[in-house]
């Protein structure tokens, strides 16, 4: 049975810069992301991974081609309308976590809910739930400076899932993490991707992440050169049993 389409990029061309410095970052890229899948977008530096991620996340607009997120077309939308679309449908996980250093874990997650206009009591409850879901129930009031890199990335994951988005986009989520934390974060993302109304796309060139992917898309010189569906390496995943870890902290 075909899984529902969450995001679709159709014949995307993206040119960056102007005049002599103009480069074509994406050349006729078509990519469909399905619910319940963790897709890895892999490729060397400068291949257009992050540009494609930004276009799918409605942060950049394509030079030509079209994008739809959760059935909504993004063509011709203003910056405010695109922000609204992100608010309703997209969650981001960044390589450097991008947490607010002056806010604690709970507040960092609440912020993503607050920009959607949620009531205080409701956002607190949702933020706490999201943090417990990523195994940080015991770190609610800790500031980023007092969290390890892995914990900070888990806060970022909690922030991304707290708003229940249809699409989660992760930019090199394990690049700044050691092996153990890298696996832990990927395990989390694989679990998040099990949600049948959500697609997860992670840009990475970390081979450790392969084991968790349902699909690996390869990009080079702005073109998709490979799209492989794969069965997860269950043994590898089981090695990092986060479920037990989270239960002990929640």
């Amino acid at each position: 049975m075909t899984k529902p389409v969450i995001a679709k990029a159709n014949h995307i061309v993206k040119e960056l810069g102007q005049g002599a410095s103009k480069v074509t970052a994406l050349r006729d890229v078509t990519l469909t992301l399905h619910a319940g899948e963790l897709t890895l977008l892999m490729g060397p530096s400068g291949s257009g991974k992050t540009t494609l991620l930004s276009i799918l996340g409605c942060i950049l607009t394509p030079t030509t081609g079209s994008v739809s997120i959760a059935g909504e077309k993004t063509d011709g939308l203003s910056a405010e309308k695109l922000a609204d679309l992100r608010r309703r449908h997209v969650g981001f996980i960044f390589q450097s976590y991008n947490l607010f250093p002056t806010l604690n874990a709970m507040e960092n997650v609440r912020l993503a809910l607050d920009v959607r206009g949620g009531a205080k009591g409701e956002t607190m409850q949702q933020a706490e739930m999201a943090l417990r879901e990523v195994g940080l129930g015991h770190r609610l009031r800790n500031y980023p400076a007092n969290l390890s890199g892995g914990e900070q990335q888990r806060v970022a994951v909690a922030r991304a899932i707290a708003t229940a988005p249809s699409l989660i986009l992760a930019d090199e989520p394990t690049a700044a993490l050691d092996s153990e934390n890298g696996h832990a974060v990927m395990q989390l993302m694989a679990e998040i991707a099990k949600n049948e109304s959500r697609a997860v796309l992670a840009v990475t060139h970390d081979p450790r992440t392969h084991a968790y992917a349902d699909r690996v898309v390869r990009i080079e010189d702005g073109r998709i050169i490979g799209d492989e569906r794969r069965a997860k390496a269950e043994g590898n995943v089981a090695q990092y049993d986060l479920t037990r870890k989270r239960k002990s902290h929640a």
Binding site: S54, L60, A83, T102, L111, V115, R116
Partner: protein
């Protein structure tokens, strides 16, 4: 979360916060003192007009203020009394002259001649002696603020005005003049005598109307009958005096100019610190934008930062300003602080901080959320 984020951004960098608060505080104190002096001066300038019990004033043509008017001959009074609607026209004398201290020094003063029984104008806030003691031979009332200038210290002290002996028989508290030239109250006839004015002459006539009479209609009629003098309503005389002393002399312009300068300095300091704070938090604002926040949400964070700075700066600034106001109360020109002025200052502070936020908002409006991927 808008307030929380704004508060944390502000307090994250204590040094910058202190610079911002000091900038606002400096601005508030400067503006409060300048405006307080302006309103204090205004209150003093019109105090005689405000205290006089009459709806219209007959003054010499071109009279600039209560203290600066030519002499009216006296016939104006009879013309006024024969005008329908006029109940009384009470003469008042006011003119600059010299007060010679008993130790030989001299001081410019304004002799004000009124008969309290006439009900037009009388000295107020008498703290020693009474209205009746002013009628005693050579009696005058002086304000305790000017004791040192006049070379007197108590009731019974004597001096000379134009060669005639005067004696302090009453003391008032808080009757000050804008020019710091002391007012010397005495009876109407004694004032005429001291100033060398003819009997029946006056500087002004305070006109009291019949009950129900229309001041503007009576004023028009009086002006027709007295074409060589001016007939002014209380408000007109009030405005003319303020215009003369505050704007004719440039004093008001200097005070208001000082207040505007204070606002400008405050605005520049707050704008500079808000801008640099926003620049430092640009990545966070870009993250917010990537998370889908509207630009309005980010603007609210910056405005909340400006608002919080305004409230803290205003609170501290007003505390200092009120201390200065209290310390000025026994000086020749007390600074005025009223709830309305405090409210105006608060609104000005908020406005100043909102304007200061513009450069930061412009900066953040140009933010590219894609920068979150390049960190």
């Amino acid at each position: 979360m808008v307030l929380t984020l704004a508060f944390r951004n502000l307090f994250h960098d204590r040094v910058r916060l202190i610079v911002t608060i000091v900038g606002i505080l400096f601005s508030i104190v400067l503006v409060a003192v300048q405006l307080g002096l302006y309103f204090g001066a205004s209150r003093i300038i019109v105090s005689m007009i405000e205290r006089a019990d009459g709806q219209l004033w007959i003054t010499a043509y071109g009279a600039k203020s209560f203290e600066e008017s030519d002499v009216l001959s006296g016939r104006e009074r009879y013309a006024a009394l024969s005008t329908p609607g006029v109940n009384r026209a009470i003469p008042v004398v006011a003119a600059f002259t010299r007060w010679k201290k008993s130790d030989g020094g001299a001081q410019l003063c304004v002799v004000v001649g009124t008969d309290a029984a006439d009900g037009a104008l009388a000295p107020w806030n008498i703290v020693d002696g009474s209205l009746s003691t002013i009628k005693l031979p050579d009696g005058v009332a002086v304000d305790e603020t000017y004791f040192e200038n006049l070379g007197v210290t108590k009731l019974g002290d004597t001096a000379e005005i134009n060669g005639a002996r005067v004696r302090v028989t009453a003391v008032t508290k808080g009757i000050r003049s804008f020019t710091t030239t002391p007012f010397i109250f005495t009876t109407l006839d004694r004032a005429r005598s001291l100033l060398g004015m003819p009997a029946n002459s006056a500087s002004h006539y305070v006109v009291q109307l019949d009950p129900g009479a229309d001041p503007l209609r009576v004023r028009t009629e009086l002006q027709k009958r007295l074409p060589d003098v001016e007939v002014l309503t209380r408000d007109e005389f009030h405005a003319r005096s303020l215009d003369h002393w505050l704007f004719g002399t440039g004093a008001g312009v200097a005070l208001i100019g000082g207040a505007i300068l204070g606002m400008l300095v405050g605005t520049v300091i707050v704008a500079q610190t808000l801008y640099s704070s926003t620049k430092d938090h640009l990545n966070e604002f870009a993250t917010l934008r990537a998370l889908g926040s509207s630009s309005g949400y980010i603007h609210r964070v910056i405005l909340a930062q400006a608002g919080l700075s305004a409230v803290i700066g205003y609170g501290l600034g007003m505390a200092i300003a009120i201390a200065i106001v209290m310390a000025s109360q026994n000086t020749a020109l007390p600074i005025v602080m009223t709830p309305t002025l405090a409210g105006i200052l608060f609104a000005l502070t908020l406005g100043m901080c909102a304007i200061s936020a513009v450069s930061a908002i412009v900066k953040v409006t140009k933010i590219d959320p894609a920068m979150v991927f390049s960190r």
